[in-house]
Amino acid sequence: MREQKWLRPARIIISILFLAGFCLIFSDVKAKLPSGITLFFTSFQFLPSVLKFPHQPGIIASGFFLIILLTVFSGRVYCSTFCPMGILMDVLGFIKRKLPIRKKRRKFMKPLNFLRYIILSMSVLSLFITGMFAISWLDPYANFGRIASNLYQPVFIFLNNVVSKLLIHFNVYSIQPFTFNVFHPLPFFAALTILFTVIAMVIFRDRLYCNTICPVGAILGLISKASLLKIKIDNSSCTQCGKCQTSCKANCINIKEMRIDETRCISCFNCIQVCEESSIGYKKSWGIKHETMNNTDIRKRDFIKAGILFMGINPLLAKAEEHHNEDEHDRKKFCTRGPISPPGSRSIRHLKNNCIACQLCVSVCPSHVLQPAFLEYGFTGMMMPRLDNQAGFCNYDCTKCGEVCPTGAIFPLTKEAKKTTQVGMVQFRQHLCIVESEGTACGSCSEHCPTQAVYMVPYKDDLTIPEVNPDICVGCGACEHACPVTDPHAAIFVYPHEQHQTALKPETEKVNVESTEEFPF
């Protein structure tokens, strides 16, 4: 199987490109990158694309189907080549091998199947109880996103600003510095915990996470039982030197019995590369009798069951929470208001049922209005995006978050649709307004209002005071962000809609100006 030696270098090149791509999309602080590029990298992610498919069926959301096809064809290629967490672990493993520390020789390990399938079935079951919460903490892409957003992006901005500062010193302004996003302890420490856990697992056993905890790995492992091509050892030429076994990151090669556990094999092709006899490599698996057939049947059946549950989950969940958003309307107080969900998410319910809190939208929001929630959406909505009008306000013409959302939790909106999407409604408290309380001019809110849902009307002594027309308000939060009043809270603020509404379009007639021939002075 000498002709298969190219597989490993090819896998390394593609995986490095993918990791670079993920770094790129999480470095897009000012939303300059075409959304197609961002979608390209995220569409090959399993869980996001499974979630997206029911809402936006199409080629972009068919990534999971491609991954399944690829797995049916040649095993868990996804885990080594396209999964950003898997690639990150390979990078960590590479660093580990370069460090001058004592390393244990890799050897065959028994699979921790009990734990693995318990976690898989628990995470599927948890969909009914916690929504996306539990599974989003196990999913490799979501966890990678949190690391990228909270740990990688600040480093990128810091380096960018250092370079920018150096250049500005020489009066070159070609690289502009960026401001850091707001620091939130919860996502930061969550990301740090995830990273350290991953590092610890890599140190202990390279791909322990992928073969024990990762639900995507477990599902693909079950599918790979039926792969057309499987990595196998050629009994006639193998000298049982054990090199393949020590090169195996998944500890799945049993050289004594010359067997490979294909459910754990992540198709990294290390073994193919190291085998001097070229006696390990892909072989077609049809027409050969499996020794472990009886086990598989049960697992396959479980998998199918899980798959049905998984695919049917969204409509079911949608029904579950439908009826508790009506009776809260008179508690319109600033402090008791809930979170504002991003435009395109349609409702808080839809967001909570589909968001895996990967932080991509938060990372690319150019005005920093999207911030990870703490407990605003409840415990199970932790770190999901919310509009934080203190951090910024939603740009009227910007549609970035919906364009990049990999799971369909935030639908993509056209500019026109965005301009009539009402995520909340303006509330004005005149007694708190500077114009009334201080008797001085302000108008900061109206100044920032893109639709003039907040407009200035004559008040005493040539002053003007805000008045609101909530019908054309989109709830962008610009007025609230700009309001100089802070005590006890902004004099104008957005009260969120649990279910987004449609705003009326601002209508104006063409202004008339009589042109004069003479200068007016």
Binding site: K30, A31, K32, H169, N171, V172, Y173, Q176, P177, T179, P366, S367, G392, N395, Y396, D397, C398, I434, E438, T440, A441, C442, G443, S444, S446, E447, H448, C449, P450, T451, Q452, Y455, M456, D462, T464, A482, P484, V485, P506, T508, E509, K510, V511, N512, V513, S515, F519, P520, F521
Partner: protein, 306 residues
């Protein structure tokens, strides 16, 4: 040892000389105080493109070389506050900004820098206003106004409500400061003109709104007098300002006003717009603080129709 000593000394010397040059204050000290003895106090131009009107207006003032000496650094401060296209007239006309840069470089300017502290997200404002492109195409440099570290604390000794704030270092360090507002309606301040445009060079704008907006605008006008003010009245946002809702709010008026006196320029601009000057409180307040005069009859005005 000797070599090491040499390296150490040369590094120290280069740092010291670099620091000296980068202070920039030296240039300001040497250049300031040159009272431009101008042929006119105010030039008003109408009926041309922004570029034509500027060409005619600056020529009437003796050309850009009156304001910019060879090897000086220039900062141009247009209004780039909003994520809106040039047709919406929420921002200064990009053609005008480009033309000003061209004149500065022709007069021998070493560098021309352009920035604004925007209200909407800055990269979108710079791009969609067309100003970033106009600046780059004409050889200027566009700089962000969104980084707090670029703003330095200053005292405003003559200020009544505004005693201190942080001001962008380009305003403090550049040799020449050209203020290029767009003439437009403003919900809170009635009008946005030369003095209102200077809110885009300070960091803490919220303070203005919370502490008598008009007085703060007038106070800041005592701090720094632009070397030249160019009011862009080509497209004028007649209502719903300063942002505007659509092109329906815009009238094409084809005016331009050039002056070194902000109060005079703003007074003339209110007359072009058709609002009583008294209603824009900060103009009168600035006159009281000695920033300039609202008495246009006392000024030597050049009127040009293209």
């Amino acid at each position: 040892m000797k070599r090491r000593e040499f390296i150490r000394r040369s590094v120290a010397a280069s740092i010291a000389s670099g620091a000296l040059f980068s202070m920039g204050k030296w240039n300001t000290v040497l250049a300031s105080g040159t009272d431009h003895s101008l042929p006119f106090d105010l030039v008003a131009v109408k009926n041309g493109t922004p570029e034509e009107m500027f060409d005619a207006g600056i020529a009437a003032l003796g050309g850009m070389k009156t304001f910019v000496k060879p090897n000086q650094t220039v900062v141009v401060k247009p209004n780039i506050g909003w994520d809106a296209s040039p047709e919406r007239a929420a921002n200064t006309n990009p053609g005008l900004v480009g033309q000003i840069i061209k004149h500065c470089l022709d007069a021998g300017a070493k560098r021309v820098m352009v920035f604004d502290k925007t209200c909407d997200e800055w990269t979108r404002c710079y791009k969609n206003s067309g100003i970033e492109k106009a600046v780059k195409d004409n050889g200027g440099q566009i700089v962000t106004g969104a980084i707090e570290a670029h703003y330095q604390h200053v005292d405003i000794p003559k200020g009544i409500s505004l005693k201190e704030n942080k001001v962008h270092e380009l305003i403090l360090e550049s040799d020449v400061f050209i203020n290029v507002p767009v003439l437009k309606n403003h919900g809170g301040a009635q009008m946005s003109l030369t003095m209102k445009n200077l809110m885009g060079v300070v960091w803490n704008r919220r303070y203005y709104h919370a502490n008598n907006l008009h007085q703060c605008i007038a106070d800041f006008a005592t701090f720094k007098k632009p070397d030249l003010n160019v009011v862009d009245g080509y497209r004028v946002l007649k209502r719903n300002g300063p942002r505007g809702v659509s092109v329906n709010d815009v009238a094409i008026m084809k005016y331009q006003i050039l002056s070194t006196d902000m109060v005079a320029a703003d007074t003339a601009a209110t007359k072009v717009f058709g609002i009583e000057t008294d209603r824009v409180k900060h103009i009168g307040l600035a006159e009281k603080l000695g920033v300039g005069t609202t008495d246009l009859d006392s000024l030597n005005i050049k009127r040009i129709t293209i």
